[in-house]
């Protein structure tokens, strides 16, 4: 561990990586909370994977890849959201179709791009050690947009997640706020691509919030706790990856997943037993 801390002191790429983990955790904690309570994990997964299509096209036309990702993520979010609001019956099939189409388009375009395609792997699985200063500014900007939007519209987003019918009766536009929420999911996905890659995005988006949901009983506390957990997971994962020379994205996800299983299977059942004892005694 001490070698990691020494290295962190010494190398700016590690400092960038730590900062990237921190910035990603904020977006994840806030938006992941909505994804978990609204139960739209599969939808978020669809957006994350469809993003490859946008990245492939941008890559082929030699445009900034993250810009392609951003456009694809927002486009997919609006498309899936629009279908959800107008025809709820086949939502899961549709998400599956969008998911696969996006990836297929991405792979086609990347295969047709002349040259050596090493970058593809870093977008699929992330490369937190390659994060540049510009990436950090971009991530901080996306975080600011997400946090500001949530602070401004906290009550509308809450009622949209909790009780759509009541929201409509109070003249809160469910269409607008649902699409806004999905667009923020899309922004978060783009935010995370650098850190863990699009294949693992869903884990970092949902696991910290899912753990936080087991301990905090209000949306704002869950967001806060999930962000803190995200920071712990990314920095621990990064440390392990550095010490044992492992891929960083996968290490981060495994730390998060292990914590989730320990929390769900061990701590929660212990708490349940204690509560039962407390009530019977």
């Amino acid at each position: 561990m001490s070698t990691f801390l020494d290295a962190l002191w010494q190398f700016s790429f590690l400092q960038h990586a730590m900062l990237a983990g921190l910035l990603a955790s904020i977006g994840c904690g806030v938006i992941g909370t909505y994804v978990v309570v609204k139960r739209i994990t599969f939808l978020a997964g669809g957006i994350a994977h469809a993003v490859l299509g946008g990245m492939g096209i941008a890559y082929y036309f030699q445009q900034p890849v993250l810009l392609g990702a951003l456009i694809a993520a927002l486009g997919t979010a609006l498309f899936i959201g629009w279908v959800y609001l107008h025809n709820q019956q086949n939502e899961d099939t549709l998400i599956g179709a969008v998911w696969a189409t996006g990836m297929a388009v991405g792979i086609l375009f990347i295969s047709q791009t002349p040259g050596y395609n090493v970058d593809l792997m870093s977008y699929l699985f992330g490369n937190i050690l390659m994060v540049s200063r510009t990436d950090l500014y971009l991530m901080a900007g996306l975080d600011a947009v997400i946090v500001l939007t949530v602070i401004l519209f906290y009550k509308q987003l809450l009622v949209t997640c909790f009780d759509e019918e009541f929201a409509q009766l109070r003249n809160v536009s469910v269409t607008f706020f649902y699409l806004l929420l999905l667009c923020m999911v899309a922004l978060t996905v783009v935010l995370l691509i650098r850190v863990v890659g699009l294949i693992l995005v869903i884990a970092l988006l949902t696991l910290p919030a899912a753990i936080a949901l087991q301990y905090a009983m209000s949306l704002s506390y869950i967001m806060l706790l999930a962000s803190v957990l995200g920071i712990i997971f990314t920095s621990t994962g990064l440390g392990i990856a550095y010490e044992y020379n492992l891929p960083a994205g996968a290490s981060i996800i495994l730390v998060a997943a292990a914590s989730y299983f320990v929390s769900t299977l061990v701590i929660q059942s212990l708490l349940k037993k204690m509560r039962a004892l407390h009530e019977s005694g």
């Binding site: 009550k155 809450l158 009622v159 909790f162 009766l169 109070r170 009983m217 869950i222």
Partner: protein
Amino acid sequence: MTTAIQIDNVSFAYDAPMILENINLSIEEKEFLGIVGPNGGGKSTLLKIMLGLLKPTQGQVQIFSKSPVKQRVHIGYVPQFAAFPRHFPISVQETVLMGRLGITRAWLGYNREDKLIAQHAMQTTHIADFAQRQIGRLSGGQLQRVLIARALACQPKILILDEPTANIDQRVEEDIFDLLKVLNQELTVIVVSHDIGFISAYVSRVACLNKTLLCHQTSSITPQKLEQLYHIPVRAIQHQHY
């Protein structure tokens, strides 16, 4: 007396079969109206039309002489509580505060006035003691009171309740109707219920709905009228049903 809700020749169908046919009903201000009828008889559909959630295929509804969509901020609506996730991480107070939406400022959180109004609504419905409790930890009767408090936080002129006592026991049911009776001194109250025998002791009028408005009696409540309300509609509904 002013008319709170005016329903003229309303018919409704999603596709082919008519769900509501030629409904005419006028509800006075501060009336306590019960709507009863069999499952699938169109009760919830009629409520949704009154709330402006559905548009009638024919005819029109006016609430204080304007369209339901324009007036719905003045309606407090209490849904059947099976309609939303009970394990949602939200407290009683946060749920009640939702009633302020559409009235309070659009940006940022709720203000001091909203919180006072929500507090008052929780006191009226006797739930102020567990304002911070998560809704999943409430009993059926307590949750029903939370939903009524949320509707009261809208400071409504009309209170509409859909099967408010469907999943709770008899004693709590009486408590809730006693509360509605008190609220009725200030508000127009409309209750949809499956249990006509029970609600007839509270309401000033009963409308029996099974596609058409079968029975629709105005009455000053006398024992004879109650007897009549209890028997005739029930028989009429059964008749239609089989």
